[in-house]
């Protein structure tokens, strides 16, 4: 698959946009690459009522991996900040985990993308 690194960078960018939209002022992201896959971890503080947005995130990241759709559409991930392409991120990953510390408002998202 060509542009593998750029695809992962765009996934991270999309998630950063998402955390900004939830009021995050501090975002930490990490990418680890192994011969088989990429691990992406992104963590940010949030403000306000985030329940609905987290439910939406959960729904969109649940999309099954879709290599055929990804091939044509991956450049859209992280492209605008007023709309999300989280379903595309879902289609580009094999598993996802969302953790939320309700009291501190800290949200952590971990993704695994097989090569």
């Amino acid at each position: 698959m060509v542009h593998e690194h750029e695809r992962v960078v765009r996934m991270v960018s999309e998630l950063q946009n998402f955390l900004f939209s939830m009021g995050a002022m501090e975002i930490h992201s990490e990418i680890r690459e192994t011969p088989e896959c990429f691990f992406v971890s992104i963590k940010g503080n949030t403000r306000g009522n985030i329940c609905r947005k987290l439910d939406k995130l959960r729904k969109l990241l649940r999309m099954p991996r879709q290599a055929d759709m990804e091939e044509e559409l991956w450049l859209l991930a992280g492209s605008v900040d007023y709309d999300t392409e989280l379903s595309l991120v879902g289609m580009m990953t094999d598993s996802a985990e969302i953790r939320c510390d309700g009291e501190a408002g800290v949200v952590e998202i971990e993704l695994l993308r097989k090569k």
Binding site: L54, D55, R62, D68, E72, Y82, L88, I98, G102
Partner: protein
């Protein structure tokens, strides 16, 4: 704790049963092929198919006028069934874009795509996948939508005055080379309109078609304007397709447990790429939304005194297909209103053939209305109705998705302007 801490489990969604999607698609287009017998005898259909395959078919060529209504139905049904078979063989998971691609191919098999001319481009995409050493299934949607340039192959095969062997070689070369360049261009051009033009490959095909036509022109080829447009079929075709889509709505309603749940959720999405209603809301609501798009489109054509024929059915089918991948009545209505506004103020009428098509296909810009609201949707439709009449000259009508070409340009020009105005207002605090 908001949201909980459970992992997001990725499973094939129960609401999206793969077999059911393919069975419904196959059943739909098998029915379409069989409906041909209402209009013609098997012998007449065969003769009509021969004319469809061998006649030049660049814009606007209504296959109902070339080979008869029966042959056009068979051509549409068979081409769709062959592509459904191809997707199944490649084990492609059915999603909203699968439905959009098959319905679009079916629609354009009423004017421009046929049993012969589509395969050259598909083979070109396959060649690209081989070159990249990746599965063909990864690029299969570029192949399906890329058949927009199929009339170029027909033109070389049957429209040029050259020795047969040379024509065949040239047609193969053109088809393969088009197919080979479409996948990388499809990805790159998505950035141009940021997903606000649903017919992305239409935009790409417009550019590629313009390059090819320029080459042809350099060797003395002058494309003639063409308009084969049948009339007088409304009394038969309108009720037939309204029933067809009503049946589809009923299937969706039953699959959805006799509820409308999910349909209102669909109306809430902006529609910008990627908005896959099948994956997001399931098969039942998606089928109902598709049926609403189909019935609405037919009623619009009747309301403006238009014609139900091959080209307008292509528009209707494309609306139906993309109602699984971004379109719904709420985001389409402002776009159509923009075209209608153009009809009231510009020099052409709403029932002029290219404008009938423009109104249906302009809904490629539905995400503009979905994202930025009714006003900008109307502006997009208004601009599109003028631009689409001018961009066809660039590719000489060889790109069947002329509206996708125009829609890409409108979105690319309009969206940054809207963003700038909107962010200006936000910084003013207004």
């Amino acid at each position: 704790m908001p949201g909980g801490n459970e992992p997001v489990v990725k499973t094939r969604d129960e609401a999206n049963p793969q077999n059911a999607v393919y069975v419904i698609l196959a059943g739909t287009f098998l029915s379409l092929a069989l409906l041909s017998l209402l209009f013609d005898t098997p012998a007449g259909i065969l003769q009509g198919l021969e004319r469809i395959v061998t006649d030049p078919d660049y814009l606007i060529t209504d296959y109902m006028g070339v080979g008869g209504v029966g042959a056009a139905f068979v051509n549409s049904g068979l081409v769709s069934l062959l592509f459904i078979g191809l997707l199944r063989c490649l084990r492609v998971q059915a999603t909203g874009i699968t439905i959009a691609a098959i319905w679009t191919v079916a629609g354009f098999s009423f004017f421009g795509k046929n049993l012969l001319n589509v395969w050259f481009i598909v083979a070109g995409v396959w060649l690209y996948a081989r070159y990249r050493k990746e599965p063909f299934s990864r690029f299969v949607y570029a192949a399906l939508f890329g058949t927009a340039l199929a009339p170029l192959v027909t033109q070389i095969l049957f429209g040029f005055n050259l020795p047969l062997a040379f024509r065949i070689s040239l047609a193969v070369l053109a088809g393969l080379s088009i197919g080979f360049v479409l996948p990388p261009l499809g990805t790159a051009m998505m950035r141009f309109h940021q997903g606000f033009n649903l017919y992305n490959i239409g935009f790409v095909s417009g550019l590629v078609g313009s390059v090819y036509l320029s080459l042809f022109r350099s060797y003395g080829f002058i494309p003639a304007s063409r308009l084969i447009w049948t009339t007088g079929q409304n009394k038969v075709l309108a009720p037939l397709f309204i029933l067809f889509f009503a049946w589809q709505f009923l299937i969706g309603f039953l699959l959805n447990g006799r509820r409308f749940t999910g349909l209102s959720a669909i109306m809430g999405y902006t529609g910008r790429v990627v908005t896959d209603f099948l994956l997001l809301e399931g098969l039942g609501p998606t089928l109902m939304n598709m049926a609403l798009g189909g019935i609405g489109s037919i009623l619009y054509i009747l309301a403006i005194g238009g014609d139900i024929n091959g080209p307008t059915l292509a528009g209707v089918f494309t609306v139906v297909g993309f109602s699984a991948f971004g379109k719904h009545p709420r985001n389409m209505a402002p776009i159509v209103a923009g075209v209608v506004l153009g009809g009231l103020t510009k020099v052409w009428g709403l029932s002029d053939p290219p404008i009938q098509l423009a109104a249906l296909f302009a809904t490629t810009l539905a995400p503009v209305a979905g994202e930025f609201g009714i006003f900008w949707g109307i502006v997009a439709g208004f601009l599109h109705s003028s631009l689409v009449l001018n961009v066809g000259a660039l590719h000489g009508g060889f790109n069947l998705y002329n509206n996708g070409f125009s829609g890409g340009a409108v979105a690319a020009v309009l969206v940054p302007v809207i963003e700038a105005i909107r962010s200006g207002r936000e910084s003013d605090g207004s």
